[in-house]
Symmetry: C2
Subunit: 297 residues, 2 copies
């Protein structure tokens, strides 16, 4: 069976235990044209060397994962977050991708060692649990970073995470909310990503994907499946396409109708997938993509 | 310390191992005026006897949990679901509550023994994963049940469940979506419930609570907290108010502004809470309600 893999990209998290070079070689062996790179694997060799490894294999970079974690309120923490995100922008530019995926961060209460303290005395609003204010801070930080990103030809790509991560990872939970955050900025400076694991449940998904397309903000399409039962760490509960409950036919069709012509990244975090032989993981990924995503793309 | 408990209701799931009579007695001992009853504990004694037990203790019923599971597509399964929901309506009427909480059910794929099969051949839409169609069926079944409920003076109260239950328990995931389902019907026939565990993360929550209030559809306010890490069964991951990340000050304020004057049910599913002495659980519940909910109500 020949596969049309012209838009399929291996996100390096899917074969987590490979170095960047190993992942690039495995993707190239399988006939994939692109790779979605995580910063840890890029930083092991440095962005310049990473760019060379990828280019030498004839691959392109579909995105860099990830910047973000922008919800801090203290001055030092804000400065540190902005510094780290500027480095991420520079790394993306060096790698030659314009798409920097951003996971925006959770509530301050989730950073407290030993878990959240009880809310304060009667009548007092608790800033550590104030979701509305945490979201305002994300908007402010995106504004701080946008000119720097624009100057580097890099787009800040806001990723809505599944609502079960709203406390500890991302106070942006829906595509509509991500688009609201993006809208004050030019489409080539702030975009959004559709990751099926995070947004498949959203009753407003069709409409918001159409809105993202109309605004030319749809920067990345990442696929993996929602499998049950959830893993003990729900972050590691992402399955191969077809193993779970996501309706890839419908969602991929909506992404196509929205005019998306970019790469499709397969990004799976799962202990079983990580324990498997990487070539076998990529073969499964190719087969599932060809069967359940490509026909609708 | 005196507590103003005039609006506090014990949901019987919180002290799961108690019979209805035990839960009613414990609530009355603690000075609570109301109980939210689960059908299993009601059915153990029969609805008529349950009503007598509750009335004899001087309590009222804030809601009956629960009807629903309306997503089946086969004729026999649809008939069975409607029959069961008509019985639930009758039980609510006998108990003297007008609020019947409805959990609408998940995807057909989640009912397959051994988990979902791979989607069908290339190019075919998979009905077992079709979330849009499952939601249409819920709307149809609500329409089927509405006249029967209206005839019994009972309101079908649609409960949006957290999106992490979208595959296996409820294809209604947001308050806005629940209100869209309710809107074709009179406010006294189809309403909605705000359960903080399920909706706390929603960026649209303030606006949708206001909408529910303006439409006189806010039928119940249930409180418990979002605690991390999630329990192995995330259904049993609900914590005491104050132990997690929910901003009860803000959400309770929104519920007050929406004009809600009904009972506040504490509904906790958690193995540790269930293992505790029920009187001690209720004492904690009273203390947390008084401290973190009542000041904003």
């Amino acid at each position: 069976m020949t596969h049309d893999l012209a838009r399929l990209s291996l996100n390096t998290a899917t074969t987590k235990h490979q170095t960047l070079r190993e992942a690039v070689d495995a993707a190239a062996r399988a006939g994939l044209p692109a790779i979605g790179a995580w910063r840890d694997r890029v930083q092991e060799v440095g962005a310049r060397q990473a760019a060379a490894i990828i280019a030498d294999a004839g691959l392109r970079v579909s995105s860099l994962c990830r910047g973000g974690f922008l919800t801090a309120s203290g001055d030092d923490d804000v400065t540190a977050a902005l510094d780290d995100n500027r480095r991420a922008v520079e790394e993306a530019a060096t790698l030659g991708t314009r798409e920097l995926i951003m996971v925006v961060g959770g509530l301050p209460a989730a950073s407290a060692p030993g878990g959240p303290a009880l809310p304060g005395p009667d009548g007092a609003q608790d800033p550590a649990r104030d979701l509305v204010e945490a979201r305002h801070r994300v908007a402010e930080r995106i504004g701080d970073l946008a000119p720097f990103a624009a100057g580097h030809g890099v787009r800040l790509v806001i990723e809505p995470l599944h609502p079960m991560f709203a406390a500890d990872r991302a106070v942006v939970s829906t595509l509509g909310q991500a688009l609201d955050l993006a809208e004050p900025f030019p489409a080539e400076v702030v975009g959004v990503v559709v990751d099926t694991y995070h947004v498949w449940w959203d009753p407003d998904l069709h409409q918001q994907i159409a809105r993202a397309g109309a605004g030319r903000r749809l920067a990345s399409y990442q696929v993996c499946d929602w499998v049950l039962p959830l893993a003990a760490d729900p972050l590691l509960s992402r399955g191969h396409v077809g193993d779970g409950y996501v309706d890839f036919a419908s969602i991929t069709g909506w992404v196509r109708e929205a005019g998306y012509t970019g790469d499709v990244e397969v990004e799976i975090f799962h202990e079983d997938v990580w324990a498997a032989d990487p070539d076998s993981t990529i073969a499964t990924m190719v087969e599932r993509y060809t069967r359940h995503v490509l026909p609708y793309l």
